[in-house]
């Protein structure tokens, strides 16, 4: 039992130390995606590989949308007439489709990492 607790405390301590180190790293590059009429603009976004990216998503529609990507492992509700930030990466080169879960037939896009 004590050994288990020690292991768990070690895991938490290492996680905390790595978090502090990562958060102390420099600023991330920012890219912007706009949602308008249930479409993403741009629908094709090119991002640099192996870098942490700050995606600024601006929803210009009056209704909410949910940004979702299984490949990026990201999901977030964006209220209407609002903006939000999602951090992605560092990503390997490849294609990462994303879509709006509330309007999946129109709101579709692709992130291409090079």
């Amino acid at each position: 039992m004590m050994n288990n607790m020690k292991l768990i405390i070690k895991f938490i301590a290492i996680t905390f130390a790595v978090s502090c180190y990562t958060l102390s790293l420099g600023a991330n590059q920012e890219f912007e995606i706009v949602i308008q009429d249930h479409l993403f603009f741009p629908s094709m976004l090119e991002l640099p590989a192996e870098q942490k990216i700050r995606l600024l998503i601006i929803n210009q529609d009056p209704t909410a949308e949910e940004f979702e990507s299984y490949e990026l492992n990201r999901e977030k509700v964006i209220p209407g007439n609002s903006r939000t930030v999602i951090f992605v990466g560092p990503l390997s080169p490849g294609e990462y489709p994303f879509f709006g879960e509330f309007y999946p037939r129109t709101a579709q896009g692709m992130i291409i990492v090079k």
């Binding site: 039992m1 288990n4 942490k52 299984y70 990201r74 930030v85 990466g89």
Partner: protein
């Protein structure tokens, strides 16, 4: 629009429905296991449904404000906080409940009821608030109202049926195995909550990026029906990060070494009725 509504609402509902079923079976069998000491009824189901629905409505109204907090990552932080609360409450439940303690502190049954009520309410708030935002937005266009409402009700029916199916399946097992299954599912559910909280904090850049541990998206994609069901039941992820898996494993492990898990899992008796005098 109808099919989109069915899929979206079902994704949100199924997790809560399965959790409620597991907790209903668990409390029912614990009443059989400790008939003189554990007297928690099913009042928590109605209380948590009411609290959850009211809380969801309030939370849905607050989401536009919350999402602006912490430089636009407030939603991730608050959702991760809700999920961490669920993890802590489930751990408190599994670490506080033993027959010895029930005999010593008769009010422990009520406290267990409060833990379970809070767990289910928070789970409902997290899932149903998204449904409210979706339905409120999409039905603002009158032509969407009928298909979306119909789709939502059908999804509610399917989700509830899934929960009822799991409830009766668990009850059909020999009682001790039903209890063991409940505890195992509870451990996996707790791991899932911890993993989701970790993912949200990584998305908000409050936790560091760690490489993905495996990629099973070609074998079992998350968007398929089995993928979604496994996600709801055991927190299946096709591309989990090392940190996510670590959080999942620690939370599930803490349940697996809890006194309640040990009492239930390591008993060699076949039926809970014959466990009356069994103590850890």
């Amino acid at each position: 629009m109808f099919l989109d509504a069915v899929i979206l609402v079902l994704q949100e509902i199924v997790e809560a429905a399965l959790l409620i079923s597991v907790l209903l079976v668990l409390t029912r069998l614990l009443r059989q296991l400790w008939p003189t000491d554990f007297n928690l009824g099913n009042f928590w189901l109605i209380t948590s449904a009411l609290l959850g629905l009211i809380g969801s409505w309030i939370y849905a109204r607050l989401i536009p404000t919350i999402s602006l907090w912490f430089d636009y990552v407030g939603l991730e932080v608050v959702n991760a906080f809700i999920q961490t609360c669920i993890v802590v409450l489930l751990l408190m439940l599994c670490y506080s409940l033993t027959r010895e303690r029930l005999k010593k502190y008769p009010q422990l049954s009520k406290l267990t009821g409060i833990f379970i009520t809070l767990v289910v309410s928070l789970g409902i708030i997290r899932e149903v608030s998204e449904i409210i935002i979706y339905v409120a937005g999409i039905t603002s266009q009158p032509e969407n109202f009928a298909p979306v409402m119909m789709g939502s009700f059908i999804a509610l029916g399917i989700g509830t049926s899934g929960g009822i199916l799991l409830f009766y399946f668990l009850l059909s097992l020999p009682s001790l195995w039903a209890l063991r299954s409940c505890m195992l599912l509870l451990a996996l559910f707790t791991g899932n909550m911890a993993s989701q909280a970790c993912l949200l904090l990584t998305q908000a850049d409050w936790l560091p990026y760690t490489p993905e541990l495996w990629n099973s998206s070609s074998l079992l994609p998350e968007y398929t029906v089995p993928g979604q069901l496994l996600y709801a039941l055991i927190g299946y992820e096709a591309t989990p990060s090392i940190l996510q898996f670590g959080c999942y494993a620690v939370a599930a492990f803490l349940i697996l070494i809890s006194p309640l898990f040990k009492i239930i899992w390591f008993s060699k008796k076949r039926s809970v009725n014959s466990l009356d005098n069994y103590e850890i």
